[in-house]
């Protein structure tokens, strides 16, 4: 008779080997997005801004975004205008990060500071929604959330998409 502990030890060792094999496969197939994620945030301005927004604007998931929008929050599109025209979350307004300096005053005239905002861009590869959230906070908006999955996650979930100017 073998000791029961020896059998458990063997099983646990095999389990670790299976997990390690899975890790090797996963890392070899998806090393690019992982490396991208670890090398982000790259721009110098983001380094100083990131901690503040991480505390104040935690990223929200798809379900929470749907709830927020249904409750009257405004989706703010940080992507370039061409992508905004091609497809966006319903009711989303365009505020491209690169045009924010010129477009923000107009945005502030239309949108009160009390309104809940949900920024988004092209999903997980894209830091613009975070940067835009920081700028909107600095501009006085009190409740700014970041939809990190962005337009791709919304579209891929089969949710309604709006397009056109």
């Amino acid at each position: 008779m073998r000791r029961p502990g020896a059998e458990l030890q063997r099983v646990a060792l095999e389990a670790i080997i299976i997990a390690a094999l899975g890790a090797v496969i996963g890392l070899s197939l998806h090393h690019r997005p992982i490396l991208d994620a670890f090398s982000r945030p790259a721009p110098a301005t983001r380094d100083s801004l990131a901690p503040a927004v991480a505390v104040e604007s935690p990223p929200v998931g798809l379900a929470e975004v749907q709830r927020l929008l249904a409750a009257g929050a405004l989706a703010v599109d940080a992507r370039i205008p061409e992508m905004h025209r091609e497809g966006r979350l319903p009711g989303a307004v365009s505020l491209p990060l690169e045009e924010v300096d010129t477009a923000l005053p107009e945005f502030q005239r239309k949108i009160p500071a009390e309104r809940t905002l949900v920024t988004f861009c092209s999903g997980y590869g894209c830091p613009d929604s975070f940067d835009l959230a920081v700028l909107l906070r600095q501009a006085g908006y009190r409740d700014v959330r970041v939809f990190e999955g962005g337009f791709p996650q919304w579209r891929d979930a089969g949710l309604p998409v709006e397009s056109g100017p």
Partner: protein, 139 residues
């Protein structure tokens, strides 16, 4: 003895098929899965991607081994341990009052953490049954 064998193979095939299916769905969209993990707000940003890239393949491997009746105890042990981990994470999400998608199967899976917790309890039972019955029905 025969009914035990049927139960064993039933548990093994169901558990294996379940994780193979879940793993393939998540491996298909690693970025979306990373987002699901991120919404639990447990790991630092980039680590969500690391886990999202690894976990689906561990599930696929262990599920496949169960389906093909290889390394059954090790696979059931691994999937059981994973399920325990998922339950702990779900409980922490419920405790912190996070209203999030569970991300258990498809990225757009709308299961709430509480429902997922109940489902995971069933999966844990399957893993335990598979592990224990393996010892009794095989040489």
């Amino acid at each position: 003895m025969r009914s035990k064998r049927i139960l064993y193979h039933g548990c093994r095939l169901f558990l294996g098929g379940l994780f193979l299916y879940a793993g393939i769905l998540k491996a298909n969209d690693v970025a979306a899965f990373a987002g699901n993990i991120a919404s639990y707000r447990i790991l630092p940003y980039a680590w969500n991607y690391l886990l999202a890239a690894i976990l689906p393949y561990v599930e696929v491997l262990a599920g496949g081994l169960l389906l093909t009746n290889n390394r059954v105890r090790a696979s059931a042990f691994l999937l059981g341990a994973l399920t325990l981990l998922f339950m702990a994470v779900l409980m922490s999400a419920i405790y912190r009052g996070l209203e999030i998608d569970c991300g258990c199967f498809h990225p757009a899976d709308r299961t709430t953490p509480l429902a997922a917790l109940g489902r995971d309890a069933g999966i844990l039972l399957l893993a335990i049954l598979t592990y224990r019955l393996r010892g009794k029905t095989s040489p």
